[in-house]
């Protein structure tokens, strides 16, 4: 049973406006498809500008899509009218990267957490307070914090408040938009553990957007790697991390700094910068920076489609022969959410 099914999602931003000439559109998301099952985490991984954040926001209709479909619990999200969308929003929530701008500084913690309850009239009177208390405890915070203001709390605590706020409406699905990137190492660990526990206890599904593969490994059941608005590789976390097939995935894996000086590893250092999403290269978007020994002129002409190769799906003409440099891959693993 699929919880969420996204097909050919496209989000282009048109530059320019009423008084300015418009340039080429920024193709933030350029044809993304995936599925998500209940109680599953799909990690969307990539570097800045790859469009991963846009995917999350567009699915939730915080931005309107340019084209494509998203079917959530059997409902076509993009066809919903406003009142129906509002009701559906209860089932799908989001937590943000920046703990310092994700909470209204003029609202108490309790009011922030209770907002969803009030909007959807899930409880009234004293019951609201009881729910807020229960939620704060569930995320590991002292219920007494409800009367305080966000500026009194640390980044990690604010993230927890944001999680409590999202949980208040009892969602089935949460978009986690880089939820730990702005946190210190030990705080990051606390929040990751919390997310794993919540998934296990509530059966939540996550679309976990991140750039750090080691972090992703803690929670992800499946991984999709994005580059310039498209998914270039997809598969189970185990398969993608153990034996990646797309040269970008390999480069990404080799670049992740690892706290293990003893491990020998060949680093693939990509040349050049990521091209602008408003001017993607013709053919394979990765070809100007690609290090694959079999890269040829076909790559600059013909855009490769995602196809199953080995244990994953990869969008590369020569995915069968992608070399695996020393020390890269063989990582594997499954999400800690599966571990009781």
């Amino acid at each position: 049973m699929t919880l969420l099914q996204v097909r050919d999602l496209v989000k282009h931003y048109q530059s320019g406006g009423l008084f300015r000439p418009s340039g080429p559109p920024v193709r933030a998301v350029d044809g993304v498809s995936f599925e998500l099952a209940p109680a599953e985490t799909l990690a969307l991984v990539g570097e800045s500008g790859c469009g991963k954040s846009s995917v999350g926001r567009t699915i939730l209709r915080l931005q309107e899509p340019t084209s494509g479909t998203a079917v959530f619990e059997g409902v076509d999200l993009f066809a919903l009218d406003r009142p129906a969308l509002r009701r559906t929003r209860r089932r799908m929530q989001i937590i943000f990267q920046d703990p310092y701008s994700s909470l209204n500084p003029r609202m108490t913690v309790g009011s922030a957490v209770a907002e969803g309850i009030e909007i959807h009239r899930l409880a009234r009177g004293a019951e609201v307070g009881r729910r807020v208390t229960a939620l704060l405890e569930e995320v590991g915070l002292d219920p007494g914090y409800a009367a305080r203001y966000p500026h009194e709390f640390s980044g990690g605590q604010r993230q927890r408040i944001g999680i409590a706020r999202a949980l208040a409406v009892e969602p089935a699905f949460i978009v986690c938009d880089e939820p730990v990137s702005a946190l210190d190492v030990s705080v990051q660990a606390q929040v990751l553990n919390l997310l794993a526990d919540l998934q296990r206890d509530r059966g939540l599904s996550y679309l976990f957007i991140a750039h750090d593969l080691a972090v992703v490994r803690q929670l992800a059941h499946r991984i999709a790697v994005m580059y310039l608005g498209r998914i270039v590789e997809q598969g189970t976390a185990d398969a993608v991390l153990r034996r990646p097939r797309h040269p970008y995935t390999v480069a990404l894996l080799s670049a992740v700094p690892e706290p293990d000086p003893g491990r020998r590893r060949t680093r693939i250092v990509l040349t050049g910068d990521v091209p602008s999403p408003s001017a993607p290269p013709p053919g394979c978007p990765f070809h100007p920076r690609c290090w694959h020994p079999r890269r040829d002129e076909r790559c600059s002409r013909e855009r490769p489609l995602l196809r199953p190769v080995g244990g994953t799906s990869a969008a590369c003409h020569y995915a069968e022969d992608t070399p695996l440099p020393e020390g890269v891959g063989e990582a594997g693993g499954t999400s800690t959410a599966s571990i009781p």
Binding site: V185, S186, Q188, A189, H211, P259, D260, R263, D273
Partner: protein
């Protein structure tokens, strides 16, 4: 003489409520040799950035460096310099690059102008010569198409490029020491690798010593020669990199290692350090890590000094007395 920097008992204090001062950096000492990379590792609030700013006497606002310490470059003590002699140290003997390349470059001047400015601040050369040097520096930091880039403005460059430009500016007077404060934190992982590569090359070719400030243990593992871990304004453990990673000994260091997610090995539930970093106003007397330490015992009520464990490996913990090999 291979020792380029000697920092002794550095203390930086800030005024706090109630009139007294808190020491955000509290008695930090370390050395740096030619061509060596020392990593200063810690989480936010540990005082690592302030330490790096203090080296150049750039501590902001109401903060000040307390007397009683020393920052020695050869036989000059930076803490005793003022005015022109101090300005000559900055850039010429110690260079610095910062975390956010977007705000560290002046948006209204071209890249070439800014590098040339750095050159001419310290070397008596003409504009033409400065520009040539700027070009040379851009090549050294690996910027593609450097001739065109000289006339580019910062907003026309990507984050990785801007960071390289910052390195070029920092190098313009050929300093012996480069202080890099979280130079790659704001960059993508693939770009991060490029920048670290540039730093390695420069160490090899110029014999430049690097003080790398970071919170990322992964970056440290691959590159630094030695590591110093900071917590609550103090160094709590220092060792050559292989030793630190093989045998993290201070409970805080161990806690850090247990909370970092890994790319290899079995996927396990992370073990974060309980509690959170206390602000300076809430520092306990005695060992500052005590409230969060799983191995605390009575002696921890007294502040431990840095005690030796193995050759060149020390930690600020009473357990060193029993664990010494």
């Amino acid at each position: 003489m291979s020792r380029v920097l000697e920092v002794e008992n550095l203390r930086v204090s800030f005024p706090a409520e109630g009139g007294h001062r808190v020491h955000a950096v509290d008695g930090v000492s370390f050395t740096l040799d030619r061509g060596e990379m020392l990593a200063l590792v810690g989480e936010s609030g540990c005082g690592k950035s302030l330490t790096s700013l203090a080296l150049l006497r750039l501590v902001p606002g109401p903060g000040r460096i307390d007397p009683g310490g020393a920052i020695r470059l050869g036989d000059i003590d930076v803490l005793h310099l003022e005015g022109e002699p101090l300005r000559r140290i900055r850039g010429k003997r110690i260079g610095m690059i910062f975390q956010d390349p977007m705000t560290s470059l002046n948006p209204v001047f071209t890249v070439g102008d800014q590098i040339s400015e750095g050159v001419r601040a310290h070397l008596p050369v003409s504009k033409r010569e400065a520009r040539d040097r700027a070009l040379h520096l851009l090549q050294e930091v690996g910027i593609p198409d450097p001739v065109a880039r000289l006339d580019a403005y910062p907003h026309q460059l990507s984050g990785g490029m801007r960071q390289r430009v910052m390195i070029a500016i920092a190098l313009s007077a050929e300093p012996e020491i480069l202080v890099a404060d979280e130079p790659t934190t704001a960059l993508d992982v693939t770009v991060q690798a490029q920048i670290l590569e540039v730093l390695d090359r420069l160490r090899a070719s110029h014999g430049m010593a690097v003080l790398l400030i970071t919170h990322d243990l992964g970056i440290v593992a691959g590159r630094a020669d030695r590591v110093a871990v900071m917590y609550a304004g103090q160094i709590v453990e220092e060792a050559p990199t292989p030793a630190l990673f093989a045998r993290p000994s201070h409970p805080y260091t161990q806690g850090l290692f247990a909370s970092v997610p890994r790319l290899h090995g079995p996927v396990e539930r992370l073990k974060p350090i309980g509690g959170s970093v206390p602000p300076p106003s809430a520092w306990p007397s005695g060992c500052r890590f005590r409230p969060r330490c799983p191995k605390a015992f009575d002696k921890c009520g007294a502040m431990p000094p840095l005690l030796p464990l193995e050759p060149a490996h020390r930690m600020r913990c009473w357990l060193a007395e029993t664990e010494r090999s």
